[in-house]
């Protein structure tokens, strides 16, 4: 399946795919658009989604911005997701900074 870059919400255009997220083995899920960055270390999620899913914190990462400035420790959540027909599990960061 071919997905076109999103040139409406992003300038320059960015690769965006629909993603479905849920806590492990739960039926409660939500679907949104995800900005895909194949070079990223971690996946970030808006905090509002965490509240909707009632996800529990599982770990912490020290997060640095690309300029080396510390964003601080950010809590992470272990979640399942479906992206382009593929189902996986991963740690997601959520911190509205």
């Amino acid at each position: 399946m071919i997905h076109l870059y999103d040139n409406y919400h992003y300038n320059p255009p960015a690769p965006v795919l629909p993603i479905t997220i849920r806590i492990p083995d739960s039926i409660k899920q939500l679907t949104t658009d995800a900005l895909v960055d194949t070079g990223a270390d971690i996946t970030c999620l808006p905090r509002a989604f965490i509240g909707t899913l009632r996800a529990e914190r599982a770990s912490t990462y020290d997060v640095f911005a690309i300029n080396g400035v510390s964003v601080g420790p950010c809590d992470s959540y272990f979640l399942e997701f479906e992206l382009a027909g593929d189902q996986r599990q991963a740690f997601f960061l959520s911190n509205d900074k």
Binding site: Y10, D41, D62, P73
Partner: protein, 283 residues
């Protein structure tokens, strides 16, 4: 003469200069980046903050903080150090206040005073490189190496803290007092209060488990270095090298309940966010 990166490394390797906690990642072309250590004190919090346990040091606008470095230094009697704040923090509005130099013969952790002159709170996390130390080699050994009161310091003691002002937001309070003095109608202004945060039961348990992990880490380092460990009810209950497999196993065994998974290493897990991209609607 200021030492360059290769010389700093050589002096540390030979033991002539002591930098306990030395990391090559902190070497700069002609300096060494000192990192945020465990202890700090802010006037607004009026207490010693354990940054490793609490995760973050927050310096309020106008606040004054004392930060102890992670690294413990030992300078020979023919070398002195000078340090300053990393420019990235200076540009944010922080100002480092310190004596003119680290004396030849000094041994201990450095305590660096920082004022936040910006209008926003600035956060520093444990082990963040925040100050750059230059090492100067002197023409000869000094006659009297440093033997002063801070020799061997490794903690923020009451003696160090006792000389600090006791009021929160010193700059803001001074300004309010001056305004109140010039206009009686402003005397109703109260000192600013810190917002009280309500935390959920899940977050409280997560924080408890995280603290337990930090408490257990010294022992875990002896037996499970490099592994992930699951902390539940303040005990290490599962260990393994694959974090995802470990968390799946933990949820299968205990259900989807709050817990903490930590990496058994001295330094915390670090990730870099490589893109500042945000949707147009957010700009």
């Amino acid at each position: 003469m200021i030492l360059v990166d290769e010389e700093i490394k050589k002096y540390v390797s030979s033991g002539e200069v002591g930098i306990v906690g030395f990391s090559e990642k902190c070497l700069q072309p002609a300096s060494y980046d000192l990192r945020v250590g465990e202890e700090a004190f802010t006037v607004s919090a009026a207490r010693v903050i354990n940054i490793q346990n609490e995760g973050l040091l927050e310096i309020q606008p106008g606040d004054f903080a004392l930060i102890m470095t992670y690294e413990k230094l030992r300078l020979p009697s023919n070398m002195l150090g000078r340090f300053g704040l990393r420019s990235v923090y200076a540009r944010m509005g922080l100002l480092a206040t310190a004596g003119p130099q680290v004396d030849p013969g000094f041994e201990g952790k450095l305590v660096i005073g920082i004022v936040n002159f910006s209008s926003q709170s600035i956060k520093l996390s444990y082990l963040t490189p925040f100050c750059s130390l230059e090492l100067h080699r002197l023409s000869r050994e000094v006659m009297n190496p440093y033997r002063g009161p801070y020799q061997g310091q490794e903690h923020l003691t009451d003696k160090i803290i006792s000389t600090l002002p006791r009021e929160p937001y010193p700059l803001a309070v001074m300004l309010i007092r001056q305004l109140a003095a010039s206009s009686p109608s402003l005397s109703l202004i109260k000192e600013p209060k810190l917002p009280q945060r309500k935390i959920s039961k899940g977050l409280a348990i997560f924080q408890r488990e995280k603290k337990a992990f930090e408490r257990l880490k010294p022992e875990l380092l002896k037996t499970h270095r490099g592994e992930y460990v699951v902390i539940r009810e303040e005990k290490a209950v599962l260990m393994g090298h694959n974090k995802i497999e470990l968390v799946k196993k933990a949820y299968r065994k205990f259900g989807y309940k709050p817990l903490y998974i930590g990496l058994v290493e001295e330094e915390p897990e670090v990730v870099y966010i490589p893109t500042p991209r945000v949707p147009r609607s957010m700009t």
